[in-house]
């Protein structure tokens, strides 16, 4: 347990003590999170309204197309999360600041949850429109593999506990796992013969898309991005408190000098 130090209250190992919050920055730090939370709540209500009422029913797909207004933002959020894991893992290996490790861990948790939701919502859409829950299409298969990689990532974190070596190993997996995703995608594409894409008229970029569809999708995308920020703030704080609590416990058990 090399992470045990005699400074229980410090937020990060190398961080200076937090300055007292004053001025605009202090206000933002104190209330920004609540503003963000309220914005996410309002955005969600608006997105639901836009998806179910404001946007017109799709001429070809019917009502089931409305899944797209949540499916696409959730997919975006999942990929964003794993990209953040990738970046935070690299920075952690270079800087060795445990706060980057907290970001990576939190982001992986968010990513796994939203990848699960993407797979479920996509399957429901597929059953309704394609008539099958699953196909070997490249994007579907890659997303499933992505889910497996990051569930294994969380499992690795579970097995290693909050140790420095655990953080390093997880960072290695976070980087290699992310690099593996495009390789997987190409391998699956070639495996199936290269014809993905045309099955997806979902992108909202087709010629006759009404403006309402585009607006509803953009609204949902913006809301889910804010939701990611909101969740990350919560998870970051949870990581910080967990680490501090563990350190305090270690101090009580092993004395002030660490282990």
């Amino acid at each position: 347990m090399s992470t045990v130090t005699s400074r229980p209250a410090a937020p990060g190992r190398d961080a200076p003590p937090r300055p007292e919050s004053n001025g605009v920055l202090g206000l933002a730090r104190r209330y920004g999170e609540y503003v963000l939370g309220v914005a996410v709540a309002i955005g969600m209500i608006l997105s639901i309204w836009a998806a179910f009422v404001y946007a017109p029913t799709d001429a070809v797909q019917g009502p089931v197309q409305r899944i797209m207004y949540f499916h696409v933002p959730m997919a975006w959020l999942a990929y964003l999360s794993f990209f953040v894991v990738f970046v935070a893992s690299i920075v952690y290996l270079i800087r060795r600041d445990e706060r980057w490790d907290w970001i990576a861990r939190g982001s992986a948790e968010v990513g796994v949850i939203f990848t699960t939701l993407v797979l479920i919502s996509g399957s429901i859409w597929g059953e309704a429109f394609w008539g099958t829950w699953w196909t070997g299409e490249a994007r579907l298969t890659t997303t499933l593999i992505l889910w497996f990689i990051y569930v294994a990532y969380l499992l690795l974190r579970f097995y290693t506990g909050r140790t420095e070596s655990g953080a390093r190993n997880a960072a290695v997996l976070g980087i290699i796992g992310f690099v593996d995703v495009p390789i997987d995608y190409f391998a699956v594409t070639w495996w199936r013969g290269a014809h993905p894409g045309e099955t997806y008229v979902l992108d909202g970029t087709t010629v006759n898309t009404p403006a309402a569809v585009f607006i509803a999708l953009m609204l949902a995308l913006a809301t889910f991005t804010l939701l990611y920020l909101f969740l990350m703030i919560q998870l970051y704080r949870l990581e910080r408190y967990t680490t501090e609590a563990q350190r305090l416990r270690a101090q009580v058990e092993y004395g002030d000098t660490g282990e």
Binding site: F148, A152, L155, Y159, R168, V172, A187
Partner: protein, 225 residues
């Protein structure tokens, strides 16, 4: 590159150490070879093989047997070091981490080669596929390098946890998907040549280069203590 000859000597002394201890103890490769053969036999009974589907099914069975046997055996790459505490001593030696990793990888490749020399003929007999030859040797070698690269790195990762052998397949199977797809497809096209296939052997080489480079680069972070 003034240290090259020294690095070369260090490399071969680690490989030699692993081979000698393996030859004495026979911890890994006998179990691996038996497991691969057993997996092939199980697949032989599990699939209803006919003349028209053998070429489609058999390569998958071969590569699943290889991947499973690799995970089982290579998961113990660092077991001797971790159990006897000699990992610390190995790391205390003035040897680059890259050299330690590459030596471990080459040792594992030699074990796997022994396993494959036993398993491939059995495969050809059981599944009655006349694909033994230079092409198969190349494809098996290319697929094995990718599998061994990932297994060796993540054996060090998983071995340092409470999960051990349980965790390793969960870590490497998803990462190995491109290699498995490529190797199965390449083996299939040996049995029944298909038009318009992507150049799988070339892709396998690309996957191998990526995986070996990444693992060599990141090994130092895994064993750093």
């Amino acid at each position: 590159m003034s240290t090259f000859p020294l690095g070369w000597r260090q490399f071969w002394s680690i490989v030699g150490k692993d081979l000698r201890s393996e030859l004495r103890a026979r911890q890994i490769w006998v179990a691996m070879a038996l497991f691969a053969m057993l997996a092939l036999v199980v697949f032989y009974f599990a699939f209803d093989l006919r003349v028209d589907n053998t070429a489609a099914v058999a390569p998958g069975a071969l590569w699943i047997a290889f991947v499973f046997a690799s995970v089982l055996g290579l998961g113990r790459s660092f077991a001797a070091e971790q159990e006897h505490g000699s990992m610390d001593r190995l790391l205390l030696c003035p040897v680059d981490r890259e050299i330690i990793y590459l030596a471990k990888l080459v040792g594992n490749l030699i074990f796997l080669a022994v396993v494959e020399v036993i398993a491939v003929p059995l495969f050809a007999i059981l599944f009655n596929l006349p694909i033994l030859g230079g092409g198969l040797v190349v494809i098996v070698a290319l697929g094995t390098i990718g599998i061994a690269a990932m297994c060796t790195l993540f054996a060090a990762v998983a071995g340092a946890t409470r999960g051990r052998e349980l965790l390793l397949p969960l870590l490497v199977f998803p990462l190995l998907l491109p290699v498995v797809i490529g190797a199965v497809r390449a083996t299939q096209s040996l049995a029944v040549p298909v038009a318009n296939e992507p150049p799988w052997p070339g892709l396998l080489i690309a996957f191998d280069v990526i995986f070996v480079t990444l693992s060599t680069l990141f090994f130092q972070y895994v064993v750093e203590d």
